[in-house]
Amino acid sequence: MRSDANSLLQKLSQQSFRYQEFPDAFADLEPWPLFEAMLNDDRLIAKKTSRLERQEQTFQAAKERGLEANKPAEVVNAPFATLYSVNGNKGHKKQSEDDAASGGRADFRSFLSSLGSDKI
């Protein structure tokens, strides 16, 4: 529970109010261009590589090791890519379809959530 909400409930009557945290913390979060600019700033945070770049890296690594590389590389979610065109990851058909279905907002939330779980 947020500290300010906790204080407010203590001042009022906890019996009269029930605290409920919205499960989706990013429900009304807008994709401000400011945030995009910050996330694209390598001085602030390491850029996430796109799925195509990761596939290419995996393929090249496997090729160098002389291993069979016919299995598609594990796709790492880069949900922010389409919404903000991070790393130039435009035009990926599947991703675009997903984004069209979700309006991009789910990707944004997912990206922010993943940011929190990354080791910084």
Binding site: S3, D4, S7, A25, F26, L29, E30, W32, L34, F35, A37, M38, D41, D42, R43, L44, I45, A46, L112, S113, L115, G116, I120
Partner: protein, 257 residues
Amino acid sequence: MTLILCHSAKGGVGTTFLAAQLAIRFAQAGRQVTAIDGSGQDSLKLHFGILPTQFAPNWSKSHTMPLVMSNVSLIDAHLDIREEYFLNSLRRGDLAREKGAIIIVDINSADRNLFRDLYDLADLHICPISPDPAALVSLSQLGGDQRTTELEKTVYVFNMQDDRHKLSRHSYRFVKELFDTRLVGTVRRDQAVFEALAMFEPLTKIAPNSVALSDLDELAQSILNMSELSDMPNFPDSDTSPSDPQAVNPSGSRVAS
């Protein structure tokens, strides 16, 4: 002894305010606290109720003419803080000898060089953030050659939060996700902070019910609870490694023990 730097890459985010308020709360928690104004703006004292025409002693006089407000020793060190004798004094722990002592240095946002010079010496760096786009963007410049999110000694405080404004709410969430556990506190915006400053009175007296007060209490406790603060490796406590008894300050007088 623990050395804490308060510095933001952008001015106007409440760095001096947080430095002063944390110093007062650390002192209230029983710590020996020295607050050093290294900003050159001479504004740290205002948060202790000192008038603009009244001056905190500089470092060389602080040992013989200590100024203690709210149980915090105030020193204006902007003329000395780059000098080797001052840095050596910091290293030796001359300014705070009690076990658990804390030194807080307020550094001007424009003074990146001083910040980088002291960062290696410091145990903790507190970087205030405000929901101001310019302040948010400036975060990228904080680390110099290092990515801001990879600064190991740095924690962040979201200051002047105002849930009534959309950008403030969204900025907070963004910053929270960006820095995760390194965002150690939030202080809500309250005009009473400025009103107290204008009256040269403590915030606790002008607005004892200010939301900022409870946030500051929580923030100070959160920082004190950091395990690093109880056992900082950089600076020996006086009971385990006494500082040089022959140390002298620039004026030539013996350093008070």
